[in-house]
Symmetry: C2
Subunit: 213 residues, 2 copies
């Protein structure tokens, strides 16, 4: 069965260094027989703000809005907004997750942080009230991520091993790369002026993804 | 002269714990003779996405969009979008900056990360090409922050001392608080069900802000 890869991509410009890495990733993974799905956040005009709009219908407590509680309750009754349900479906179907983004202030851009805030809600990605061996965290952990063999790695930034959104609701971060010194002779690799060279990236990716899938 | 305080606030619900901290901060700082300005990001529907819309008029390089370069160039020629110019003006006028926000995935919510990404652009907040003693970083540092005695602290979260947006473009982070165990008998302090108690927060804030201003 073909492995499914979801790439969550957060750059505005296809001709950028990030855009090049994305292109190569799609080509290389397709060549390896994977089916690649994409969430191109800027192109989708993905909404990063966590608001009441994420809940369809009534609120659990309309007196005082609590985003965490409301999205958890909405998840349980199937009442999350359409864009969130679609992203969660992509995550659930994926065997491998790739986050491709530039560093903004030593971390992911707001549009991707918004994806984390809104898509990885309690119930779907974790559950604080039941944890570890006997808990929903494990169940969810397995249902959403391990069971479907989802793994996470980043081509451009190292998620800290602790205190990152993903380290706490996924099995493991397989690899986390900051490919600043990658070089390539491939002409089809278009890079931004600030990143004038790119390494044997297909080989680089092949080496990495070989170990990942 | 009255000290000016800018509070950048990122919570959807006035009746939340964050809302209560905000209310007390405004009351206490006003009592101390400060003039308080607010950026209530959810109420403003602040845009967190870093896009071409942030640049008014022509691009420096329309062939390949580079957000960092474009906002830097736009800043120099006064071509940033109105919402960014307004926020930068508030920052420049402030003697003290307070960021009030809940933790989403061990960090600030996307709407506040978007404020950092979009408001603290190169030229205004820092300059990578000229650094340290002889550089624009210092100049900007002084112009934007030190000279106007802007300081940053957070009531609810500790910005890491390194690798936070602010640690690198401001003089210092004066205080960073995670007031989970604060208690109060004040009836006017409305707290969320998940935070049933609140401490001598006015005194707490008074003690802190006394050292800050």
């Amino acid at each position: 069965m073909r492995k499914k890869v979801l790439i969550v991509y957060a750059h505005q410009e296809p001709k950028s260094f990030n855009g090049s890495l994305l292109k190569i990733a799609v080509e290389e993974l397709s060549k390896q027989g994977c089916s690649v799905t994409m969430s191109d956040l800027y192109a989708m005009q993905f909404e990063p703000r966590a608001t009441r709009n994420d809940i369809v219908g009534h609120l659990h407590n309309s007196e005082a809005f609590n985003y965490g509680v409301e999205t958890w309750e909405a998840y349980k009754r199937g009442g999350l907004s359409k864009d969130l349900v679609e992203e969660q479906k992509k995550v659930q179907e994926a065997d491998l997750l790739i986050f491709q983004f530039p560093l903004f202030w030593f971390n992911m851009p707001a549009i991707l942080k918004g994806w984390m805030d809104r898509v990885l809600v309690q119930g779907f990605a974790y559950d604080l009230s039941k944890v570890y061996d006997g808990g929903l965290l494990q169940v969810c952990f397995w249902n959403c991520f391990i069971k479907v063999k989802t793994r996470s790695f980043s081509l451009t930034y190292l998620f800290p091993k602790t205190h990152s959104p993903l380290s706490n609701c996924m099995a493991s971060i397989l690899a986390s790369e900051l490919p600043l010194h990658v070089r390539s002779g491939k002409e089809e690799v278009t890079l931004s002026p600030r990143n004038p060279c790119c390494p044997g990236l297909p080989e680089y990716l092949l080496n990495r993804s070989g170990a990942l899938l």
